[in-house]
């Protein structure tokens, strides 16, 4: 690992100031992405601001029914929190389906939101990659793109899928990302936080210079709804999703009143599927209806050379999850 300047921040203000004091600075939380990528020389910060001592480890139920999660709450603690287990099972399940016990113990809420893609061409340090070296091209297009590449939201410049499970659940739940920077704090809708690759795959999120995530606030849970996360992958544990679905659904007298569907493993960002949701609302559950919703979710899908299977697989991730939820 290259040398870098290290500082430890005691509060958010100090963290932001330290970050702004130098060019090419990274915030260090759990380190499970950053240190991994620094070891393979893909991320090369000149300075690292350690925010682990900042007091952002609380989970608070807000009076309006929302739940505010500190950026440094570990994935383990979030998944096991009584409120999350009771009111957001889809989030608890998504978190526990990701990584491993040890990694979840280190990984943080803010860090998970910020995690980088698993594309081999991004990680290898030498292949053309517009995320790593803007303008160099994308080796994944036409390369090996079976497992960690998307069919939704891709561009000719980048096709890497977003790797997070947690974010898929948050996309379904609805959330707000609170950030603090030199100019103060602001809220960003979760749906607007991650950016599509487009012509600028190196721009992955809506953070501005020296801004730091301080909280993620979940929308209030839908009363009377059921939710679940279904993750399909090459092995049963410790593997990134080939396709996953986070679904929240509420029925009344046998009719679907509300539905929220988000997809993982298939999109270049945590992928909300409003077209699929629209198919369901006002209808009675049936296999044909679920197939129609799944089909709508992938209407704009574009298969790459090795991942065409993700389109039917992703559809099945929706159908199976829905079928289990309404059974």
């Amino acid at each position: 690992m290259r040398h870098f300047e290290y500082s430890r921040a005691g509060d958010v203000g100090q963290a932001v100031a330290n970050h702004a004091a130098m060019q090419n600075t990274a915030f260090l939380a759990g380190g499970t992405t950053l240190l991994d990528l620094m070891k393979i020389d893909v991320m090369r910060p000149a300075a690292v601001v350690d925010i682990n001592r900042v007091e952002l480890k609380q989970i608070d139920a807000l009076p309006d029914g929302r739940v505010r999660i500190g950026a440094l709450v570990s994935n383990t603690d979030l998944a096991r929190h009584a409120k999350v287990v009771a009111d957001y099972p889809v989030l608890a399940q998504a978190l526990l389906s990701g990584a491993t016990t040890q990694l979840r113990n280190k990984a943080t809420t803010g860090g998970n939101v910020m995690q980088r893609v698993r594309c081999n061409y991004f990680r290898d340090g030498v292949s053309p990659c517009n995320k790593r070296t803007p303008g160099s091209g994308c080796a994944a297009v036409g390369g090996i793109n079976r497992s960690v590449h998307a069919v939704l939201g891709t561009s000719e410049h980048c096709i890497a899928s977003h790797p997070s499970d947690m974010c898929v659940a948050m996309a379904a739940i609805g959330a707000t990302v609170t950030v603090q920077g030199p100019k103060g704090t602001r809220d960003i809708a979760f749906a607007d936080f991650h950016l599509l690759p487009g012509d600028t795959p190196d721009k992955e999120h809506a953070l501005m210079a020296d801004e730091m995530i301080t909280h993620v606030t979940l929308d209030a849970p839908l009363a009377g709804a059921k939710s679940a996360y279904l993750k399909l992958r090459d092995r049963a544990s410790y593997q990134f999703a080939l396709a996953s679905s986070a679904i929240i659904i509420r029925l009344e007298d046998g009719v679907i009143k509300q539905a929220r569907i988000a997809l993982g493993g298939v999109g270049t960002k945590p992928w909300r599927a409003p077209e699929a949701e629209a198919q369901l609302v006002g209808q009675r559950p049936s296999p044909a209806l679920f197939e129609a919703a799944a089909s709508a979710a992938f209407k704009t899908a574009v298969a790459q050379s090795h991942n065409a299977y993700k389109i039917p697989l992703g559809q099945q991730a929706i159908v199976r999850n829905l079928s289990t939820l309404v059974a």
Binding site: D36, T100, K106
Partner: protein, 233 residues
């Protein structure tokens, strides 16, 4: 080589000093005595330059010996860790990884380096009682933290119930992943939030890869140790 490792073997080399009576069977101490300079050269990549030579004399000492802080080299800072109950102050550069510091500067080589990227679990140790991958931590992040390594599990010469169970169930073949497996097992058995059934244990242990495939016996060992775990207050 077996002669060097077996204290029961008659001392066969007339020109060699007699073995230390209390010496642990140690391939490592043999290597250390044979090639301090060689190790310093070949091992130079792990903890950044200048650190390895300082590390070797420390590593050769008893693991229980306190490590005195030495003058700071440029770019270094002093970090105090409570390692297996003993306070250890060490000087490290910011990019020194906790795993490498534990092994090279503290001489606690029971914690293993496998993939070095959080994918295999061989480096699992406890930070303030929580199991983490030490390969994905910087030592400077842990100033003041309590670190427990595999060397800290046994108490007063008595193996931890998890160590006993791994032994009894033959829960290893080559042994390289074993210390990480046991550190994960101890943390899992203490964590009431993790289910007691086999499926939950398998899932919770899935961050520890065993290339020999001893998973069946590892699972049996973990479940068997459950009944003998020290009561958590």
């Amino acid at each position: 080589m077996a002669d060097h490792d077996n204290p029961e073997t008659p001392h066969a080399c007339p020109s060699c000093p007699p073995p230390e009576p209390a010496a642990a069977p140690s391939r490592r101490s043999f290597l250390m005595s044979m090639g301090v300079s060689g190790l310093a050269v070949t091992g130079g990549g792990l903890i950044p330059r200048g650190q390895v030579q300082a590390a070797v004399p420390v590593a050769a000492e008893s693991t229980a010996a306190p490590v005195a802080a030495t003058p700071l080299a440029p770019g270094e800072q002093t970090v105090t860790l409570v390692v297996n109950g003993a306070k250890r102050s060490i000087n490290v550069p910011p990019n020194a990884v906790l795993l490498d510091v534990v092994r090279e500067k503290l001489g606690l080589t029971g914690t293993k380096k496998g993939c070095d990227h959080g994918q295999c679990g061989a480096c699992t140790l406890h930070v303030n009682g929580t199991a983490v991958n030490s390969c994905l931590s910087l030592a400077v992040m842990h100033d003041g933290d309590e670190i427990t390594t595999i060397e800290g599990l046994a108490q007063d010469g008595t193996l931890h119930p998890v160590q006993e169970a791994f032994w009894a169930h033959d829960a290893y073949q080559c042994g390289y992943c074993t210390s990480g497996q046991m550190m994960s097992a101890v943390a899992i058995l203490k964590d009431a939030r993790i289910g007691r059934d086999d499926a939950s244990v398998r899932e919770a242990m899935s961050g520890n890869i065993c290339r020999c495939g001893a998973y069946k016996n590892i699972l049996a060992a973990v479940q068997s140790a459950r009944t003998n775990m020290p009561k958590v207050s």
